[in-house]
Amino acid sequence: MADTELTQKERDAVAIGEYKYGFHDDVTQPFFKSRRGLDEQIVREISAHKSEPEWMTDFRVKSLKHYDARPLPTWGGDVGRIPFDDIYYYLKPVEEQAKSWDDLPPGMRETWDKLGIPEAEKKYLAGVGAQYESEVVYHNLQEELQKQGVIFLDMDSALREQEELVRRYFGTIIPYNDNKFAALNSAVWSGGSFIYVPKGVKVELPLQAYFRINAENMGQFERTLIIVDEDAYVHYVEGCTAPIYSTDSLHSAVVEIHVARGGRCRYTTIQNWSTNVYNLVTKRAVAEADATMEWVDGNLGSQLTMKYPAVILNGERAHGEVLSIAFAGKNQHQDAGGKITHAAPHTTSVITSKSISKDGGRSSYRGLLQVNKGAVGSRSKVVCDALIIDDESRTDTYPYINIDENDVEIGHEATVSKIGEEQLFYLMSRGLSEEEASAMIVSGFVEPITKELPLEYAVELNRLIQLQMEGSVG
């Protein structure tokens, strides 16, 4: 479609968020593209394309059957309008993964340059995976880390090269029948990251994966598995964007993380899909004794996100944390939050959720706090703050709390505020425009979360929020 023929929806999308990543590459022709829609034949075709072991093919087919049988969820957001039969469930963009950015087709290379990934890799990353449609087209890990035994591969390569390790953990934290969309991912998964950090190894710089949808009506279903061994540490960061189309795309990932005794994993997401993408993701981690799992989850894009990163605190003194920021603008619904299960004594957790709604956007906090019988001396704190920019926008809170143990300490706070007229007047009286003043109040509101991020990501997140705020104040 030529630029001059943008539909109204595309024009709206461009106009509202100043969405910078709405371009697409129409030069690179895909190496392979499945037909639209989904059935067993397509699932088997995907598996055959990847020359997978039989157990994985069986797992996929079993998952598809569960997916077909299971009804769509009726809670959360409206998933009934997803055009499941129009989606391309598998699209292989190039024949082989590149070891160098220069080996990618020019249109694709240009996309990554515009997204700034090769530049970021040089400056502050220990490793990068770059997924385009269904496959990871570029992957690299610093040699020093390889020598220390760190494994950072795309999931497909991991299945080939580390089959035993993959088989031991794959689908154990999020079973194929966990929910409708986890079943879908289990059937058609492709790409994603596999990380193993050996005992005692601390990966100081972040490992980053970037997920890019390029084609129209694309379905992207990456699968990520992270294993942090005893006393090891890793910070994994993912970013994602997509072009603006008048038709809908679907992103449905599954992320499983195992943090062994004394280990620590931080998983940071800056989700910035275009507003024609449905983003339905299942993320869950298990933390053993004295381990720490932290989810930092920023949701700025998509038309509907349903995502509740979970931590199961499985060993004594394990600590789980979810920091969630959601920004819902025009035609957006962010249904986000976190889930914590205290399954062992003296475990601790914190959920901090900050949401911003503007221009009729809707953000919901949905969280579950579960304390099992026997998890004595556990402590948990849930704080959710919502900021509403205008009268058309909406926020809701759905906190579910199940406590089956008496000897626990639980705190829950929720606030809803509007940007105050007095705050705006005060800042404007110092020369800030109304937009600048609102943006300043919003960036202050999310500061408790941005201050937790490495500088580059804090800057990026703040910049995205400023962009979302631009032109929004009436």
């Binding site: 105050g420 007229e421 007095e422 705050q423 007047f425 005060y426 800042l427 404007m428 009286s429 110092r430 020369g431 800030l432 425009s433 109304e434 600048e436 003043a437 300043m440 109040i441 960036s443 202050g444 509101f445 999310v446 500061e447 408790p448």
Partner: protein
């Protein structure tokens, strides 16, 4: 003609008229005081001059250096050189004092068409350090969130710091003396006196004559029920100190 000209200004909030025809002229280099009892419209005048959206100007005119101020948004008034030191400044959680001040300085430095001309960081640090020292403000304040959890005295000093850094042409001090002990009052008034000069006009709004012992006004106006009922030299403040507002027909506790 004076720099600030207020003529027959009427203003209302929620349909209730508060200002009922104010006339006042003030030039850069002058200090005027507006004194009045509670509810006389002092703070309303301050807010209307800065452009608070809750107040409706029902008639009258305000010009500053020939520009119709009432047509402008608060940020445009600020960039014209008007500054309001708030009686109750808002807290902005999550935004540090240093960040806020730098944004405010950069807003003032923008060109006529909005083109940015940001201050260089070392220059900004120097500006900040000098002024904080003058106002005896602890350096640690710059990394705290703006007015968040500040004591009354800290808030007032923060207002003075902003005034010193933004260098307005017209400063309106809304009850800057309220809630200050005598030491803080001295620091704040020293701060104001340091800034007064041929480039700055000051409008001091106060209930009490006390502040005017430290900031000597050229003119004093008495505001009662939305009108200026008397104007004159500093001796009016002395008269109020002695007799309160009773001579103006106002019943209230002694000043």
């Amino acid at each position: 003609m004076a720099d600030l000209v207020i003529s027959n200004l009427h203003a209302a909030i929620d349909g209730t008229e508060i200002l009922r025809g104010i006339d006042l002229e003030l030039s850069q280099g002058q200090v005027h005081a507006i004194m009045g009892p509670n509810g006389s419209g002092k703070s309303t005048l301050a807010h209307v001059l800065m452009g608070h959206p809750s107040y409706e100007v029902t008639s009258g005119e305000v010009t500053f250096k020939g520009t119709d101020v009432l047509e402008l948004e608060p940020d445009e008034r600020s960039r014209l050189g008007i500054f309001l030191a708030f009686q109750y400044p808002s807290a902005i959680p999550g935004v540090t004092v240093a960040n806020f001040l730098r944004m405010a300085v950069n807003a003032q430095r923008r060109g006529p068409d909005g083109e940015p001309n940001p201050i260089r960081i070392p220059e900004f640090r120097k500006l900040l350090a000098e002024n904080m020292e003058q106002l005896k403000i602890d350096r640690s304040l710059t990394s705290r969130y703006l007015n968040d959890g500040f004591s009354g005295g800290e808030k007032k000093r923060m207002e003075m710091l902003q005034m010193a850094i933004l260098q307005p042409k017209l400063a309106i001090l809304d009850e800057t003396d309220s809630g200050l002990d005598i030491d803080a009052l001295r620091i704040v008034s020293d701060g104001v006196n340091r800034l007064t000069g041929p480039e700055l006009g000051v409008l001091v709004i106060t209930h009490y004559a006390r502040l005017l012992q430290y900031i000597r006004p050229d003119r004093v106006h008495v505001l009662v029920e939305g009108r200026i009922v008397e104007s004159g030299g500093p001796e009016i403040a002395d008269k109020l100190e002695a007799h309160g507002y009773a001579p103006y027909g106002v019943q209230e506790a002694a000043v």
